[in-house]
Structures are given as structure tokens and as C-alpha cells.
């Protein structure tokens, strides 16, 4: 349900002066809830005609997420989250040209099995018309460790029609690639990232809200992928990217409530640009339709397109003048379409959700940039179920 209007908020604030009213309302806050989410992510295998060697099966990830939210009192909220991910499969290793010049994918030989655990703790503070959240997190896997912290805040104007938000985060990551000596990988490396964001949201009328925001992120350190190789002329070399990257993104969201159909239309656009000269656009449209008896159906479609940096190519016929190269498919020029359907049910203390998403990426879907033959582009399915119980 949407936020109450300024009039209702004024009445509500005034009612808190009555004896017992704060106590009565405090008892109704969702004091504590526990949520569990299971997600199965499955990448489709590399098509035979694009595979040269290695295991065609790609990543499959099962992730389990547990989150506990507790209102310590009417101003402070504690959230603790735990995530466990188990992944298996092969990943694109490098690309070489076939006899007819077509790019062929070499996959990593053995099936990779990895586990990742992540713990997040955050403390939220809300007072009057502003709120603040401080977060700390730790993520660990066999070859990777990250520690991060964040702060975000928001403030509403007196009439509740506008909201300003801001945030900062910092992350410190360490990589210790497995089988480093055997494959000539870097033994250990580090990187860190700073990020700052600013946002603004405006209630346009009683049925529409528009939100806009920008984020700047700066990464420094080892930004290459130690598990990927690149064919440069006749040599197979390690993936090598610049050790600095500044990213900028700008997002605008529109939420339009449609009274006649009692539904909501959500339109999002995101523009991305970075110092590696990657440019990307994302357009997302979703329709949220409440059904009877607490059911709600959300259907959405997203289009993504990006232009590759100069140091990306499936393989390099000549050594680039700058000593950077990568054939990581995620840096390629491509476009992607994804379709999703979520069914949600809510009744009193219980909430359940089931969702499915299909993602299809292809060079031909790119909006701009030189089309590249990237055999590693991925298609995937994602299935998720989630339950929340208010205690």
C-alpha cells in the first residue's frame, strides 16, 4: 500500500500525543520477520557448433538466502542476512578462430565446484522524516574474500511529496586464484571499490511517482579475471585489464498506479558509462497486477545493450598498442532480452513468492557498436521461491 498523504501523516503524528497510543501502535509494527529464498540459476550449454574443446555445460548455481529483520524499538531495525551459494559447471576460457574464421569457444576443462558464504548485518535508524542505514558484510569463497561497508540515508520533505537519498559504500577484496602455479595465474591480488550515490524521488500526482538517481563507483587494483585467457596473435595470454575503473550510472524509474485496473506499471531506464569506454542502456518494464485473496502477479521484460571497450575482442590478430586485452564475453558488444513472471501471495503473517526468468543474450541484439562474434554469450533460466513469516 502506498505512503499516506500529508494530511493523514499530520493526523497520525497528532494522535501519538494521546496516552497509550504510541504503545498501541508500536505493538503493531512488524516486529520481527524471517525470510527464506531459494534460487536456482542454470546457464544453457554452449552450442556444439561454437564449442572447440572442454565441457559444454556451463554454470549452475543454487543459492539459499536467509534474512532476519527485527525492530529493536520504534526507531532501530536490525537486519541479518546469510547467503550460501553452491556453483558447479564450466566457464568460458578463451576463444580461437576456426578454419572458416568463426570464433570457437574453449571451455575450462574440469567441472568447477565452488561454494560461497556471505554474511550481512545492517542497522536501520528512522527518525521523523529521515532514515539511515549502516551495513557491514563479509563474503568468502575458496579463492575470494570481500569485506564491505555501506551507509545510506534518505529524507522526506515536510509534505512527503519529495524524497532525497544518498549513499556511500566501500569494498575491499582479495583474490587467491586456485591452481595458480599450475596455470601460471597471479598468486594473489587485491582490489577495492568506492561508491557514492545520490537520488531524488517526486510524487507527481496521487497515482505516479518518479525517481531518479546517479551512482559513481571507482575500482582500483587487480580488475582482470585470473581464470580467463586471451589469444593474442599466436600466444595465449592471461586476461589483462586496466587497474583503474570509474563507472557512472544514471537510473530513472516511473511507478504509475492505474486505478481502473488496480494495477501498477513500472518503467525503469538505466544508462551506464565507464572509463573503459563501456556504454550500456537498460530498459525495464513491469506490470504488477493484484488478483483476489492476496495474490499478485508481476510480469516484466528487460532489454539490455552494451558497447564493448577497445581492449575487448574474441581474439586479437595483432597485439594491441595498449597492453590490455580480454575476451571475457561479459565485456563484448551485445544485447539481451529477459522475460520474467512472479506470483506472490500474502495473507496475514505469511508471504510466499515463486518466480521464473529467462534471459537470452546475442550479438545481434546490440543497439550500437561493431557486431562481434562472441561464442561465449550466455542464455539462462532462473527459478526462485521465497517465504516470509512475520513473527
Amino acid at each position: 500500500m502506498k505512503a499516506p498523504s500529508a494530511r493523514i501523516r499530520a493526523l497520525f503524528a497528532s494522535s501519538l500525543g494521546l496516552p497509550g497510543m504510541q504503545e498501541l501502535l508500536a505493538a503493531e509494527l512488524p516486529e520481527e520477520n524471517v525470510a527464506y529464498r531459494f534460487t536456482h540459476y542454470d546457464e544453457e550449454p554452449v552450442p556444439k557448433e561454437k564449442l572447440l574443446a572442454g565441457d559444454p555445460s556451463r554454470y549452475s548455481i543454487d543459492s539459499q538466502q536467509l534474512r532476519w529483520v527485527k525492530n529493536l524499538d520504534e526507531n532501530y531495525t536490525l537486519t541479518v542476512g546469510y547467503l550460501h551459494e553452491a556453483m558447479s559447471g564450466s566457464s568460458p576460457w578463451y576463444v580461437i578462430p576456426g578454419s572458416d574464421g568463426q570464433a570457437l569457444q574453449v571451455m575450462s576443462g574440469a567441472t568447477i565446484r565452488e561454494k560461497r558464504d556471505q554474511l550481512d548485518i545492517s542497522l536501520g535508524l528512522s527518525a521523523d522524516n529521515s532514515s539511515h542505514e549502516f551495513g557491514l558484510g563479509y563474503s568468502t569463497e575458496d579463492d575470494y574474500r570481500a569485506v564491505y561497508g555501506s551507509y545510506s540515508g534518505s529524507r522526506e520533505t515536510a509534505d512527503s511529496l519529495e524524497e532525497y537519498s544518498w549513499g556511500f559504500s566501500y569494498s575491499d577484496d582479495e583474490i587467491h586464484p586456485s591452481d595458480a602455479t599450475e596455470f601460471g595465474r597471479v598468486l594473489s591480488a587485491a582490489r577495492d571499490a568506492w561508491s557514492a550515490s545520490l537520488g531524488f524521488s517526486q510524487v507527481v500526482n496521487r497515482n505516479a511517482v518518479i525517481q531518479t538517481g546517479a551512482t559513481v563507483t571507482r575500482q582500483t587494483g587487480f580488475l582482470s579475471d585470473p581464470y580467463k585467457l586471451v589469444l593474442v596473435e599466436q600466444s595465449i595470454l592471461s586476461d589483462q585489464r586496466p587497474d583503474e575503473r570509474t563507472m557512472f550510472s544514471w537510473t530513472t524509474r516511473l511507478r504509475q498506479y492505474l486505478q481502473r485496473s488496480r494495477a501498477a506499471l513500472q518503467l525503469d531506464y538505466r544508462y551506464f558509462l565507464d572509463s573503459w569506454d563501456i556504454q550500456a542502456h537498460t530498459l525495464d518494464a513491469a506490470w504488477v497486477q493484484p488478483l483476489n485473496e492476496g495474490w499478485e502477479l508481476t510480469s516484466g521484460v528487460r532489454y539490455y545493450t552494451q558497447k564493448a571497450p577497445d581492449f575487448y575482442a574474441p581474439y586479437f590478430e595483432a597485439t594491441p598498442s595498449d597492453p590490455y586485452w580480454s575476451s571475457d564475453y561479459r565485456l563484448a558488444t551485445y544485447g539481451a532480452l529477459s522475460y520474467r513472471l512472479n506470483l506472490q501471495w500474502q495473507q496475514h503473517r505469511y508471504q510466499a513468492l515463486a518466480g521464473v526468468e529467462y534471459y537470452d543474450s546475442d550479438s545481434s541484439l546490440a543497439l550500437a557498436g561493431k557486431p562481434q562474434d562472441t561464442p561465449g554469450l550466455v542464455d539462462f533460466w532462473r527459478l526462485s521461491v521465497a517465504f516470509t513469516v512475520s513473527l
Partner: protein
């Protein structure tokens, strides 16, 4: 060991209305305790604020407030006056606890009051003429305050609070249609509350609600028929005339006090402005325009 719980309903009269308390309890004794708590608190507020009594706290306070220097209300009354003052401001002056003279004029009349009678009553109406700084109350001569439109809802919230403090977590209190749901059935099912049809006296809709207050207001209660025309008991303090707006409004919110305030406001603002207020409220609501058109913003309402 879990003893079996039983649903117990007890009725009593309060503030001139039938009242009902419904709780799940382990024993008859415990149910009687809930009943006693509810009755005592409702009676306390009725005795203190009723405008039908001649010597209660609120009447005596107003007599002192009409003297030079005014009077200082107690904390509870101050908070109620602050809330009434907030309602006055948020309704742009159409909700006003000084409309007692106007209400009596319209209630007594068999025909439309003469304009000089309305003007005379208007002279003794207007919250802006009351001196209230949050501590001291000064009333112009002949002016009377009526908290009847607030206290019943407040009483429902108070009873719910006291019952919850006494360990009752499942049940509701109904004070003449102003409800506070203390908590859902023990198996977590919400309570289904019937909303009265403003015209045929039957049930218009059922609302599933687990917590919080629900208040309803309509032109079917305490109305007067003058020359075949229905006149509401709600008076717009700006015009001195009964409102001609929605036929009935029900609102559910975290407290019955808020639900009641928004309900009254929606009735007072007239049909379109009333619906606009409800649509912007962010609360659950249901309105009937008297001609069969029902508007609501809830996924929990089911129509009969």
C-alpha cells in the same frame, strides 16, 4: 501445557451505543476479566467526556474555560484537543468540535432552520475563536465543545491497549461500530468484519482485518428527513449546513482514532473531494455514494 481456548462474546452498552467485546480466552473467569476491563475503560471515557451529562469533567472544564483566565485541561484532554485542532486544520475548517449548537439546531428542527437561526448558531461556532495554546483553554461565552466525534474511536483504541496489556492477543472490541481488532484468530485467520449497506440495512461487504482500527460513518445514522430530503447529522462548520456527500465511508487504519478521523473527513468533504482524500490516504477504505456506486482500495474486501 496449552489449555483449550474458547471464543467468548460479551455485550454491554456504552456511550449510548451497543458495544461488544469478543476474545479468545482459557476460562469464563478470564473472559469476564476482559469484559470488565473493556466496560470500565469505555465507561470512564463516557463519564469524563459525554456531552449529554451536566456535571462531568469536560462540562466543568468548559465552564472554567469560559471564565477570564481560562482553564488547564489534564494531559489526556489536552491531547484530545490537540488532535481535534489538527483535524480542524487538516479539514480546512469543515471538521470542528464547536458545531454542537448547529447539530442541536438541525436535530430539533422539523423543517430547514431559518437562516437567522443558522447565523445565530454560526456565531457560536468556530474553533478559530477558541483560545487553545496546548496548555490553557479559553472559550468565548455560549460556545460548547463536543468531543463525541473523537472519544468513541479513542475509547476503542484504549480498550484494545488495556486488553492487550492484560494478555489478550486475539479478539476485537466494537463500540457501536467503531472497532479495534486486537489480533487475529489463534490460527492466524483475520476477522471478517461486515460493513453495513447505507440503504437497505443489509451487509455491503466483508473486510478481512487482523490488527488495528476500523470506523464507519454514513448518512444512514442519526439523519433527519426534512421535506423528503435526507440530512446527515454531520455539519460542515464552514456553511452551517449538513453535508451532502458520500452515503457511507469505512476506513481501516492502525488505530480506530485515525480510521474515524479519516472517515469523518471523507464524509465532510463532499463526494469528489472525499473520494480524493481516501485515494490519497494510503489506508484501506470503502465508500458508497448512495446510488449504488462503491469505490474501494483494498484487496481484502469481498462484496455480498
Amino acid at each position: 501445557m496449552n489449555r483449550p481456548v474458547k471464543l467468548v462474546r460479551k455485550r454491554f452498552n456504552s456511550m449510548g451505543c451497543p458495544a461488544e467485546i469478543c476474545v479468545y480466552s482459557h476460562s469464563e473467569q478470564s473472559a469476564n476479566r476482559a469484559w470488565a476491563i473493556a466496560r470500565a475503560e469505555a465507561q470512564r471515557l463516557d463519564l469524563k467526556y459525554s456531552s449529554y451529562r451536566t456535571n462531568n469533567y469536560f462540562v466543568l472544564l468548559q465552564q472554567r474555560a469560559a471564565q477570564p483566565g481560562g482553564a488547564s485541561p489534564d494531559a489526556e484532554t489536552s491531547a484530545l484537543l490537540n488532535f481535534a485542532s489538527c483535524q480542524y486544520r487538516q479539514s480546512d475548517g469543515c471538521f470542528d468540535i464547536t458545531t454542537g449548537q448547529l447539530s442541536r439546531l438541525w436535530e430539533r428542527s422539523a423543517s430547514i432552520p431559518a437562516s437567522h437561526e443558522i447565523d445565530q448558531a454560526m456565531g457560536r461556532t468556530g474553533w478559530h475563536k477558541v483560545a487553545w495554546d496546548g496548555h490553557r483553554l479559553g472559550l468565548p461565552g455560549g460556545m460548547r465543545l463536543d468531543l463525541g466525534g473523537i472519544v468513541k474511536e479513542y475509547a476503542a483504541d484504549r480498550v484494545a491497549l488495556l486488553l492487550r496489556k492484560a494478555g489478550f492477543n486475539s479478539g476485537y472490541i466494537d463500540l457501536g461500530g467503531d472497532l479495534h481488532i486486537i489480533g487475529p484468530h489463534p490460527d492466524s485467520r483475520p476477522w471478517r468484519v461486515g460493513i453495513r449497506h447505507p440503504r437497505n440495512g443489509g451487509v455491503l461487504a466483508g473486510i478481512d482485518i487482523s490488527h488495528g482500527g476500523l470506523a464507519s460513518s454514513g448518512d444512514y445514522e442519526r439523519f433527519r428527513m426534512i421535506d423528503g430530503q435526507r440530512y446527515s447529522h454531520l455539519i460542515d462548520a464552514r456553511s452551517g449546513w449538513p453535508v451532502q456527500g458520500l452515503a457511507s465511508v469505512s476506513v481501516w487504519a492502525s488505530s480506530c482514532l485515525i480510521a474515524g478521523a479519516v472517515t469523518t473527513l471523507a464524509m465532510l468533504l463532499g463526494r469528489q473531494q472525499g473520494l480524493d482524500l481516501l485515494a490519497e490516504s494510503g489506508l484501506g477504505w470503502l465508500a458508497h455514494d448512495g446510488h449504488g456506486r462503491i469505490t474501494d482500495q483494498s484487496s481484502t474486501a469481498s462484496y455480498c
